[in-house]
Symmetry: C2
Subunit: 304 residues, 2 copies
């Protein structure tokens, strides 16, 4: 604890962002847009991806090691788990393991679904592990929504193949969504929102929007999580000098200053990227998710 | 070494078979058919799959840990690396790390291609990491063949989704093979053999055979590796009491006895399966690859 304490006493205000791969860079992109004054440390556990097909026990072990790296080695004072699978299966384990606030993507995604849905019935597409955890169904139920979840294991490989605007991908999406809508109808549901429960899926958003029934809203939980993180940093709490109920006053003040910079061309937010494998591939593909160059990606070893 | 020596002095004649996942069970199935008297220990490093998208350094580290488990903990006296990626990138590292003979799938696949091709030009489809290693191209060149390799990263996810006889899979195969044949034509090649350089691909063999040009032979390196292993165990070496040039006489005699058993319904070969994660999924899907139940799969921890 004393070692952690000394890191947290520095003047660096770092938000740690963690994913099993590059997909979480879509969350980082949305965070940078909302918190341009913050520093970010992003870790992709690329040596052990994908988490989506692994067990809860293994995912929790990997995610805790990754979170500890961001807090202990990078001095992160706030963690965003930009990975639906790790948020679904390991959020408690991460919160127990690090002494800083931790935000996942599931709760913000469910909040956005509640805001969007009028019928109270929503659909969720995600990886196998996220669906098997039923984390979205539970978060939706807690908000008075009924959710039907479906695993779509081919969508991540199709994104990584670069087929984000390809007839095969459109056909796979059509097959998955037809099956999901048929199941919803069979259960007497009337869904009007579809949650993208995987950080790769925003890259397929145009194809997905063309496949959903008229009137169905598409919810991006990456956007929703970034929005929630920015709100935490920017919302004053009544009677408290800290603008954020879970962040310290000084940290929130440092990262939460969203006034536009004085100069016309503001510098990009400071971003350091780390990966446990394949840094060249990370640099090459990551910029597509981040929408700006990742810079030099640093290789780290978490053991195993 | 003394610890290893004591294991090897037992009467157990175990062939260790290693893969990053379940795909290598197609190699095990072919081995069991040829060496019904042997005992097999199969390890799927499922916590860290897929290897196909990882770096050489990481793949070698994982594969060496896995090989050491099979030799040290299971007393394997002969290892078959039933994973194209590990064979392509880590065979040397494994051979350096364990004191038993090690056979990969690349060389047998290239031997089978040489036997099948009349034009001397062959095509290879495999994972990204196998293709980037150019291990098949090198093995083919050493046999006087020209090889053109292509990564097909969507085929493993399609097999794991169970879409082994699905129009989308047929279309993806058509796209990949059209691109590969066009590139071969552009290079002035006249290929007449296609090597399946990934142990998942045999499950797509019917679809692939429908997509290749007339007269093109499809080579399964899983079958080829099993054939090579059985030959090593069964072929007497002139002037030597050992039937196999790389195996000890006693080991080869014990496992290489391929006389049909006296009873009409021979017992199945003794198979123990180990996995580093998701043993239930292994048991459920593995039987499709092995073509018989895997039995109880034992969970092990290789660290990491």
């Amino acid at each position: 604890m004393s070692k952690l304490g000394s890191k947290m006493g520095t003047t660096t205000s770092t938000i740690g962002v963690f994913d099993s791969g590059f997909g979480g860079l879509t969350v980082l992109r949305a965070l940078v847009a909302r918190l341009p004054q913050a520093r970010f440390a992003f870790l992709g556990d690329t040596a052990r991806l994908p988490y989506g097909s692994k067990s809860r026990r293994t995912i929790a072990r990997y995610a805790v090691q990754s979170a500890q790296f961001l807090v202990r080695e990078q001095g992160a004072e706030f963690l965003v788990i930009a990975c639906n699978t790790a948020s679904a299966l390991a959020l408690d384990a991460i919160q127990d393991a690090v002494p800083v606030p931790v935000l996942g993507v599931i709760e913000p995604g469910a909040d956005a679904a509640r805001a969007a849905s009028r019928t109270g019935d929503v659909l969720v597409i995600a990886t196998g592990a996220t669906v098997e955890s039923h984390a979205y169904a539970a978060a939706c139920r807690a908000r008075g929504l009924r959710a039907l979840e479906m695993a779509c294991p081919l969508l991540v490989p199709l994104v990584e193949e670069g087929w984000t605007d390809h007839p095969v991908t459109a056909e796979v999406i059509r097959i998955y969504l037809n099956e999901l809508n048929a199941e919803a109808a069979a259960q007497g549901m009337n869904p009007d929102a579809l949650v993208l429960g995987c950080t790769h899926y925003p890259l397929l958003r145009p194809l997905i929007e063309r496949s959903v029934p008229a009137g169905m809203r598409v919810i991006d939980s990456a956007e929703a999580a970034a929005e929630a993180a920015a709100l935490l940093c920017n919302t004053p709490r009544p009677g408290d000098e800290a603008p954020c109920p879970i962040l310290s006053a000084s940290f929130a003040e440092r990262v939460g200053n969203d006034k536009p910079p004085a100069n016309a061309n503001p510098p990009l937010a400071e971003i350091r990227c780390f990966a446990t494998d394949s840094v060249e591939k990370f640099e090459r593909l990551g910029s597509r998710f981040l929408n700006q160059p990742t810079g030099k990606v640093e290789l780290i070893d978490l053991g195993g």
